[in-house]
Structures are given as C-alpha cells and as structure tokens.
Point group: C2
Chain length 214, copies 2
DNA sequence: TCCTTAATCCAACGATCGCTGGATAATCCC
DNA sequence: GGGATTATCCAGCGATCGTTGGATTAAGGA
C-alpha cells in the first residue's frame, strides 16, 4: 500500500480519503460491531494512519454515525425512487396493483441482497438503540410509512384483507433481513434460495388481498 | 451489596455464584454485545470480584459460550416439550391440526416475549457467526427441523399449500424476533401489540393450508 | 516569493482491558 | 484438632484502546 501524499489537496480534486475511510469502517462495523473494531483496524483497512481517521471523521462515535448515515441514505434513496415509480404506476391506473406491489418489494429485496451490510447495520441498530438515539426519526420511520402508504394505495381498488398493516409490514421487513442473513451464512445454491424467497414474498403479498374474482 | 463469604461452601449447598454470574453476564451481553461488556462490569452486576468471575467461568469467551448455552438450552427445552404435546395431540387424531399448530407457535412467541434476551442472543449469533463456530449444530438446526417436522405432520391430513416450508419457517421465526425487538423499543400499549401480532401469526399460518371446505 | 491552509504521519498519554499469582477465610474429611 | 479443598478478593501485569500535540509536506493566495 503506497503511502498517501500529505499536504493540501489540489483545487479541483474531491476528497477520496474520507470516503475510503467510511467504506472501510462500514465493512468492519457491519462485520464485528462497534466495540470490536479499533480505529487502528479502520486505518489499516483504509491504508492510512490512525490520526488521519480522526482528522476526517472526528471521534469514533461520530465515525459510527457517519457510516450509518451513509448506508441508510443510500437505502432510502433507492426505496423512495421505487416508491415514486410505484405511485405513478398506480396513479396511471393502467397497471395491476398487485404486480406493482411485487415490484416494489423486489427492489427492497434486491437492494439488501446486493448490500448485506445494510442488514447488519439495521440489526445492530435494533439491538443497541442506546447508540443511535438521534437516528430513530431520520431513517426508520420513513421507510416503514412508505411501504404502509404504498400498501394502502395499492389497496384502494380492491379491499385489503389485513387488519394490522403495521405488524404485517414489520414482519415482512424482518423476513427479508432473515433471508439476507441466511444467504450470508450458507455456502452454495444461493440462486435457488433467492428464487424461493421471492416466490414466498409474492405469495405472502397476495395473501393480503382477496382472491381475484372470475 | 454485602460481600460474599469466602471459603469452601457447605455440603448440601448448591453453588449460586456461578448462576448469579451467568445471569448477570447474559443480561449484559444481550444488551451490549461481547466487546462492550467488561469482566469488571459482569463482576459488579453479580456483586463479586473479577477474579471470582474468572474462577467460575474461565475465559471471557467461555463465559460467553456458557451464557448462550444456558439460554438456548432453556428455549430448546420449552420448544421440545411443546413439540411433544403437539405430536401426541395430532397422533390422537381428535384435535384440529391448525389449532395445534397455532398453540405450538404461541408457545414460541410467549417464550421469546418473556425472555427477550433470547432474541438478542440469537441476533448476535447470526450477526457474528465467527464467534459461535461450535454452536451451529447444537442449537440452531434442531429448532428449525422441529417446526418443519410439526408443519409436515400437521399437513398430513390436509394438503399443505406451501412449496418452500424452509423459507416459510425461517421468515416466521424472524418475524417473531422482529416483534420482540419492537416490543422492547416501544413504550406503551404492549398488550395491544401482542394481541395484534398473535392475530397476524395465526392468519399467516392459516394461509399455509387450503381453506376448509363447507 | 512568502504566508496560510490542509492533509498526513509519528509518538505518546492516560485509561481500560483480560487475565493471574498469591493471600485469606470457611468448610469438609479424617 | 489438623491438613486438604474450595471460594473469594487484592494487587498488578502486559497489552490495547481512543485521543491528541506537534512535526512534515504540499498546495492555494497574495
């Protein structure tokens, strides 16, 4: 690993060091948790010195928060874009509501399968809420309300056979996280596992609505 | 906290110190994780000295394993007893298979609601498999196969409308863990939350079987 | 050219960590 | 009563932790 050049960066240059540190720290935090990761581990993974990590990201707690903010912002962006697409598809009225709901949830599953560290950070956040006091309203609530809102919108046409959508959505989200964890734990035949889980989720979603009339 | 008496314990006396340490350590590990808990924290919570903790439970890693073994053994015992009852109820042939399945899963939900640290330890185990290399086969597999077996047994009468019981059972288990985490996070109206989740689980289980004929 | 700003690293501080050797006290067994 | 055994605590070891002060290098601004 070549040593990074010291000195003031050139004008047009962005600052890749901070992103480098954040990416390395995110991977380590997701795998081992806050206390098992030393700042020297982060520095070594990013190829810089410990003091450089502190220079860019402040204290360890601030670095932790920055990692969560970065990952959750990416998730939120993807989900809100998918939500907008679903909304306009339903507003157009031409599409099938159930099919739209399938597609929306597929985006969620795809995203978490592609970035398993997102699931790891969510689980750590749920396990240790005392570390994330200020993140509650900024990330968790919008995602849940989005899916619930989509569920309600999709249910406008046909009645929704589901008296507790809140519990239903939460259970669905946790099932997805469990799927990602199981994928990370097993060795082979991940493709089949992915297919089977999508099939399960679709059948689950279909069960929320009355069967289509003849 | 009165200092514990040194010296060899009396004959008939059991050894409460080890259990005291294990209980305190389990609560701390469930709340904060392995690395965030110091042996001095465990000792203080148990009202003993650090050396006493080491004397009874050996290494910190051994203490961690002992906590998991203790909690998972309790869970396994409860579940296997409920499984035996469900099996004999089905073998007698008199009862309703769906009702038997409801009761079995209710036992699981009740247990985790009563001991939320069980969920915390399961999630930590899933998040950090490198810490639990030897626990995989001893605890995880039997629970899953038990529920799947019960599902299969309950399905002998009526056909099971579920091509992937493995995925289904896992998703159900994760939904229960998510329910426990949500219960711990919220403040009030836990009774309503419990009722709604049970209702959800029952409807979910019913969806696995074809609707009863008229 | 010279001063300012910014990035990087080195060295080290105080605190805490897991762990242990040894002293002391209480009980059992003979 | 008197060793043997066991439980408990005290004190301290070496290692690692998060954090910081200061030196060095490189670029911008005048």
């Amino acid at each position: 690993m070549p040593r990074r050049r010291p000195g003031r960066p050139r004008r047009g240059t962005e600052r890749p060091t901070r992103d480098l540190v954040l990416a390395a720290a995110t991977a380590l935090f997701a795998e081992r948790g806050f206390d098992a990761v030393g700042l020297r581990d982060v520095a070594a993974a990013a190829g810089v010195d410990v003091a450089t990590v502190a220079h860019h990201t402040g204290t360890k707690a601030q670095l932790y928060d920055a990692c969560f903010a970065r990952v959750f912002a990416a998730e939120r962006e993807v989900l809100e874009a998918a939500g907008e697409r679903a909304r306009s598809a339903l507003a157009a009225g031409g599409g099938d509501a159930l099919r739209t709901l399938h597609d929306l949830v597929d985006v969620f599953v795809d995203f978490l399968e592609d970035r398993p560290e997102t699931t790891a950070l969510w689980l750590r956040r749920w396990l240790e809420p005392h570390r994330h006091a200020d993140l509650d309203e900024r990330y968790a609530a919008p995602l849940y309300t989005l899916v619930e809102e989509l569920l309600a919108t999709a249910a406008e046409g046909g009645a929704l056979v589901e008296p507790t959508p809140h519990v239903t959505v939460r259970s669905l989200v946790w099932a997805v996280h469990g799927h990602v964890v199981a994928l990370a734990a097993q060795n082979g035949s991940a493709a089949r596992e992915r297919r089977e889980f999508r099939s399960f989720v679709h059948r689950f979603l279909d069960g929320l609505y009355p069967p289509a009339g003849p």
